[in-house]
Symmetry: C2
Subunit: 206 residues, 2 copies
């Protein structure tokens, strides 16, 4: 066999095929561990164990714990945006997208748990994901305000409701429901509760 053919054969599946698979496995494990214990409470050691590799091997792919967290956040953002690109859909579609997103989230409790803990942890300036959450909330707030403004122009917003307060309340409901749901998953249906709220502040039939 041609000694050169082996690496070429691997490259044939695409560049860094194995690296990408390893990175994906690490991100999955990191998500589980961070979701269980939070960012500060989760350890690289536990993540490495779950992947079945050594800690230094893990550090080869993500140079620091903060870098790994960033990788997890980016990974989930891409998936969320695929479900609900809230800044590019017209008003009503955007609102419906939020409900679809929440319904999907209910099928991945680990991700919900990670986000709920991180959003609260990252409130502190010193948290490595602080900047991420600040800019993320700015983006989400602006996008949802824009959606409600469109509904307002179409006369679809309830009386006495402003786009800004509607957006703030919608985001708050989504975040707050997660905590109650995580504490007792049988207590409520997040998507149903969100839809009920949106039916009250809009004239949409959701």
């Amino acid at each position: 066999m041609d000694p050169v053919s082996a690496p070429r054969a691997r490259r044939a599946r695409g560049p860094y095929a194995k690296t990408a698979a390893t990175r994906a496995a690490i991100l999955d494990a990191a998500l589980e561990v961070f979701a269980e214990a939070g960012y500060r409470g989760g350890s690289l050691r536990h993540i490495a164990e779950r992947v079945g590799m050594s800690e230094p091997a893990l550090m080869h792919h993500f140079h620091s714990k903060a870098g790994l967290l960033q990788g997890v956040l980016d990974h989930r953002d891409q998936r969320s945006y695929a479900i609900a690109p809230i800044d590019r859909l017209p008003g009503e579609q955007s609102i419906r997208g939020l409900i679809a997103l929440v319904r999907h989230n209910a099928s991945t409790p680990g991700v919900v748990e990670l986000y709920a803990i991180l959003a609260a942890e990252a409130t502190s300036d010193s948290h490595p994901a602080h900047g991420y959450f600040v800019s993320r909330y700015e983006f989400v707030r602006a996008s949802i305000v824009d959606s409600f403004r469109q509904l307002e122009e179409e006369g679809q917003l309830a009386a006495g409701v402003t786009p800004q307060s509607a957006a703030d309340a919608t985001i708050a409901i989504m975040d707050g429901l997660q905590v109650q749901w995580l504490l007792d998953r049988g207590a409520l249906d997040m998507a149903d509760e969100l839809a009920a709220f949106l039916r009250i502040i809009t004239r949409l039939e959701l």
Copy 2:
């Protein structure tokens, strides 16, 4: 001097006067540290430093880190209940109490931060405050459902709103607003937003 008089003089200020003062100082420091870094991220060392005492001295008053956390939670519960005894006020008074409570919370960001982080962290079964938050949410949910049920009987609840979903949404709004407010305290007024929401789902003039 009579060697017996010294201890008696101290006792004259009440039993364990000094101990109580030290415990209070520890609870204040613990609240600050846990609020900044979360329970898992906050260390007994930093708390002891802030009080100006050694770590073992701290352990003399609270036998474990979990015990110290419980002390902080109990301390804040007593204060919250003094502002809004939601299970003992009639419906409308209870709802007004919630707004008053949120307005008061806005003057103590550290406490808000601690609660937001803990509520999310304590979602996991393994968290030392898990049991506390489970029973606390049960109590709060039951109390607020009861308040909305009274409003319903008085015809003060908006059409299509049930006491249970009103309570779930109210609690979610309160919890969710905290995260947004902590990320950017100028972004919104928690009490105003809560009042706006309550005006929509009730016929109360708040």
